[in-house]
Symmetry: C2
Subunit: 715 residues, 2 copies
């Protein structure tokens, strides 16, 4: 059972710091709890004594008769430690600290939080906050916040009380309410992943919304726990999130607002995607998502049909379909034939299906066309746009007709297996028929972009579910059983010599121990040996200086290509060593590495870096100008299975380069995915590793060649 059951389903709560002074938080919280009709016992703790809202008060929690599941603490920081001790003594299972003046104020506050956490952990009491705006749970009609919250299908977890107010205004006007609502404050104990995990088993939640400023991270485990919890919950409940600090300036502002330095935004974005979380930009979009997921059926794919009364609105909807990653394909001949039977010859029927003013003569065309589109197996969802909802203004007859059509349409939509979203220019006036439709399973918007964007969110969630299932069942490439021991031994010897950067031969050995295929390399330690090795390798040979003190081999003149004779190998050896010493006279030169020159291919990069929020990551990109100028790279938090690696590769903008553009043959994408997958396992298993950089990797028609490899350990 989740630790958060006592938070959202307490049998009894105690409000510590209850007050009859209407300027105090303890007054408003008591009022909320009582007026909202909490289905359990409310105990008010007040040092002032007396009754509050007709309830008796107790001087402290220990005086309360019977068990207390949840304590809501609204007292000044200086009193907090003994009160928490008392809560633990009383056997309280969860506490919400709404008071401010803790970690957010500086080092003293942080120290106080440390002591609070110690008490809570020892007493097995989970704590929400401090510095939060409380909690709401429709399961128990509990409103332990000071905001007017209503029951409904959303759950909302926020890192900002202000956004709680902001979103709630908007939610009220849309008749949307909450199953669970919580503000996490300083995340001293309960963090996003705790809430996300709890929601998985809350059947009342049809959609989970998050407003995030950043994860509180003490170890990379926190970042990963969030991903894992979200993956599990998102398989049942759609999760949509705002995460601020997306831009460089925004990240700087977030750092000065939250006081913490975040990891890379690119990684956070990738982590959300990997976690199955649908990222949106604004409170309005968050509620669009809530409306869609609480009302609509899931979509099987991205192909939408647009039914419009008004040509311009249909075209605009089609434009937005492309913008929001949907398709509005030409409808099948069979469907077009059926539409032609019910529509006048001048009505376009290819998609959009444009009623072109005919409803005035026969309102039922809406219903008939919708029926045809709902039954088309090649249509994954229907968006209705334009003028529906305004005919009632013309006459009473039209008003009745419009309602009848609305009823018939919603019945068909309820019986169908695909989502329907609607836009009407009359929505801002809230006509009766649109209110009816909105209450019966169809989100109705006033603007075309909002309607289409929302349909996009619905299909996005279908993709999320598919990707999560694939990844969960996904395989790993085969890797040698003794990989970890072999690699650990190499790392140990590097550490022993006091280094944290591996030379290329060491990096190659680690990669080989994980099953990656690299050409044989030879470390020549003299010109004679270089000539000897040349004879072993033959053909064209690459030679590179090997020294922990020379990281940028090319800059140091430490690389020679196309060596094609023992004499040239000898000469090159002397030259590279000399260049190396000129570059850095103190360099410890291990020798010169020699390998067969690799066949060319499409230049790629596979790498890993360490993110302060999520730990080791894996990265893929196209090399050369693509990475240098276009920053065309994709990320995942390690470890990942093959399905994630495949989608990571498909994500880059320059994918066509790998698919056989410019007359070349397609590259072996599977080999690239396998290499990325192995790197993700390697950095997960070998926690010493801070950075891996395989650059360039040449992708070929079959397989790939790793032309250069760098590994750096944590300091």
């Amino acid at each position: 059972m989740s630790d958060l059951v006592p938070l959202f389903q307490p049998k009894s709560v105690a409000l510590i710091g209850a007050s009859s002074n209407s300027k105090k938080y303890g007054y408003w919280t008591a009022k909320s709890l009582i007026e909202n009709g909490f289905e359990g016992d409310i105990h008010l703790i007040s040092r002032s004594g007396g009754e509050i809202f007709g309830h008796p008060t107790y001087p402290d929690i220990l005086s309360v008769p019977g068990e207390v599941d949840l304590a809501i603490i609204a007292i000044a920081p200086k009193f907090i430690l003994p009160v928490m001790e008392q809560c633990v003594e009383k056997g309280v299972k969860a506490a919400i600290v709404v008071s401010t003046g803790f970690g957010e104020t500086g080092p003293e506050g942080k120290e106080l939080e440390r002591q609070m956490l110690e008490i809570a952990r020892k007493g097995n009491m989970r704590v929400q906050g401090p510095n939060c705006m409380g909690t709401y749970s429709s399961a128990k009609s509990m409103n332990a916040s000071i905001i007017d919250l209503a029951p409904g299908p959303m759950s909302l977890v926020l890192q900002s009380g202000n956004f709680g107010i902001d979103i709630n205004f908007n939610a009220k006007s849309r008749n949307l309410g909450y199953s669970c609502w919580a503000t996490i404050g300083n995340q001293m104990d309960m963090r996003f992943h705790d809430f996300v995990e709890y929601i998985e088993s809350d059947d009342n939640t049809k959609v989970l919304l998050l407003y995030m400023e950043g994860l509180r991270v003490e170890s990379e485990e926190d970042g990963r726990k969030f991903i894992q919890a979200a993956q599990k919950t998102a398989a049942r409940v759609p999760i949509a999130a705002i995460k601020i600090g997306r831009s460089a300036a925004g990240a700087r502002a977030a750092a000065s607002h939250t006081g913490s330095l975040a990891g890379s935004e690119k990684v956070f974005d990738a982590a959300l995607k990997q976690a199955g979380v649908i990222r949106v930009d604004s409170p309005g979009q968050l509620l669009d998502a809530a409306e869609a997921f609480s009302k609509c059926k899931p979509a099987k794919g991205k192909r939408i049909a647009i039914l419009t009364d008004g040509g311009g609105h249909g075209v605009m909807a089609t434009d937005f379909a492309e913008k929001f990653d949907l398709e509005a394909p030409v409808l099948s001949d069979a469907t077009q034939e059926k539409l032609r039977e019910v529509l006048m010859p001048h009505c376009p029927i290819k998609n959009p299906v444009d009623l072109a003013g005919t409803p005035e003569a026969d309102m039922w065309v809406f219903d008939r066309c919708l029926d045809i589109l709902l039954k088309d197996p090649d249509v994954d969802g229907v968006v209705i746009v334009g003028l529906y909802g305004g005919y009632a203004d013309l006459s009473e007859e039209f008003r009745v007709l419009e309602m009848d059509v609305a009823k018939s349409m919603t019945e068909k939509i309820a019986a169908a297996d695909k989502p329907v979203v609607m836009q009407s220019i009359y929505q801002p006036q809230h006509p009766e028929c649109l209110e009816y439709i909105s209450e019966n399973g169809v989100p109705v918007f006033g603007e075309v972009d909002a309607a289409i964007r929302t349909m996009g969110l619905i299909t996005q969630y279908s993709d999320v579910k598919k990707a999560l299932a694939e990844e969960a069942d996904g395989e790993l490439p085969e890797m040698p059983a003794d990989r970890k021991e072999k690699a650990a031994a190499i790392i140990a010897s590097v550490r022993e010599s006091g280094r944290s950067n591996l030379v290329e031969t060491e990096a190659r050995d680690i990669l080989r121990s994980y099953g990656l295929d690299l050409t044989q390399d030879y470390l020549a330690t003299s010109a004679d040996e270089a000539a000897e090795f040349y004879n072993k390798i033959g053909g064209k040979v690459v030679m590179k200086i090997v020294s922990p003190d020379i990281l940028h081999k090319t800059d140091a003149g430490g690389v020679a290509l196309s060596i094609d004779s023992p004499e040239k190998a000898r000469e090159a050896y002397e030259r590279l060593v000399k260049n190396g010493l000129t570059y850095n006279s103190d360099a410890d030169i291990f020798g010169v590495m020699m390998t067969a020159m690799l066949p060319a291919g499409v230049e790629c990069i596979i790498g890993s870096s360490y993110d302060s929020t999520f730990g080791p990551t894996v990265m893929f990109g196209l090399g050369g100008i693509f990475v240098e100028i276009l920053k065309d790279v994709s990320f995942r938090v390690a470890p990942v299975n093959m399905p994630s690696c495949r989608s990571m590769i498909r994500e880059i903008n320059g994918l066509k380069m790998l698919q056989g553009a410019r007359g070349t043959k397609p590259c072996d994408l599977e080999a690239l995915a396998e290499a990325a997958c192995i790197i993700s396992q390697l950095v997960t298993e070998l926690q010493d590793i801070a950075e891996v950089d395989l650059n360039p990797v040449f992708a070929q028609e079959k397989g790939l060649s790793i032309a250069d490899a760098r590994i750096i350990l944590h300091n």
Copy 2:
């Protein structure tokens, strides 16, 4: 004087087809005209006779006493021609045909329009429509539409009556009204450019809004007239436009909706930019633009300061600043010092300036901080976000205080020389202080994204004005005076030989006649001549087959590179001719062109194609993968001056490739701009040319080399 003065400022109007039947258009239009209090004479024409709304009726327009400036025609198509004849006879200067059943219904309707246009042109009468929803003009309190429109600072020209209704709902809720409002219907006579031109001299218009589905084009002149009219008007009045059909599927849908095939969307987008029109996506954004431009001061640049009460809202605003092409830089030390004096130590002041809850103790911090930001010369605009507007709920004292602060802030904003835009989470509740601010020069939004996007529109217009002024004053590269004659002679000889595609030597001669620098070329017509020419050129030489029947020279094996001796030139000649005849045995081979091999550089493309809406265009892009895979190209409608060409080159995503990425020297951007500018002049002056393709052009540190040139004439 604009032909549209009688449309928007008529002294007298006649409504032909006035009716007392409330199901008829002629009833509703009469009602609108009369109830809106038209400031002139209203004459109602009705064949049924009698009074309508207490006004007498006339059997026809000829029976009306005195002059009639404007006729509004609401009669069936079959009666239209004699009625238009009568209007002309009466000396009517402008007509609005609101009836439907014309060109939009098919060939018969189109023929009817042709005849109507003939009558109108002969009689010097301009016509709006047919198939439109009428016109509104606040100058004369004339509402010749059936929609309830109010006076205000916007003008709106629409290609869809439905969007007129849609936008008007939204406008009403924002207290925004119109100076001029018109639906252009089938654009038989009056087109977008006529309206745009008129607005230039309408002082009541503070912002012009367009809803476009496509331009009606009979010749490329129509497209260019729109650009020219918009450029002129946009220099005084900001123009914002929706243009639907942006996506491929949307363009298909638009074609089936409007019945016309549009030109390239990329060119339309470029044309709008060139015309100084700010493109938006939705009716909501159109009104955001209207609000911004009717309320705010212009911005001098993109640097905004964000003043927030609520950290999260500040960070979100900063994120959106990047998205909407604004900058939120760290404020100057001087400004930070001043802010520190008025703010508590825990308030972030770098930008965003976060009041962090302090207004509850001292509401005037809003005003003081705003004052400091308005006075900072490094701040081009201020966006206020977060919680302002909700304090009134706490107490009467706070309500008074909040209003006082609102008054003081708006006074400061009125006195300042920069725009201020606001977002408040309380905006949906319309509190008194926010209403006051909104009525006094500050757009107030409920969502952060809308506020920042709107500030982005304000700065975009500053860029537009700057670009228009630069382009108007912009120079052209020097071109030879006899260029047109020389080029025309070449084209004439090509035409004479019955061809429409030029061989490369001809294309090169045309380019040279316009002053472009190409290496000398020699046309060898025998192997001996090839050897001879080699000796003239020396070094490394390129040889290419020259035949109007071989367009793809490389595919035909018709190109030889790096020829470095007379013998090789001789051999190459024989081989290329043989290859050419193998490729196409009927090919008329003019010979083999020989040029010195060009120094390499960054591969670019400069070209021109003919757009069905706007005529000749000019295009610039990076070659190779950039154009093939990333479609990284920019367009302008020809002709353009140097400033437009410079910005066209700066627009491409891969610009860094030309600025010296990867350790190379920056390329000569000015030479690229000059070449593009010359091509734009060339295709404008030589209307025979359908297509120009300089590909590749090698951009070098100084100058450029044109390595291949194709020119194709119109058929």
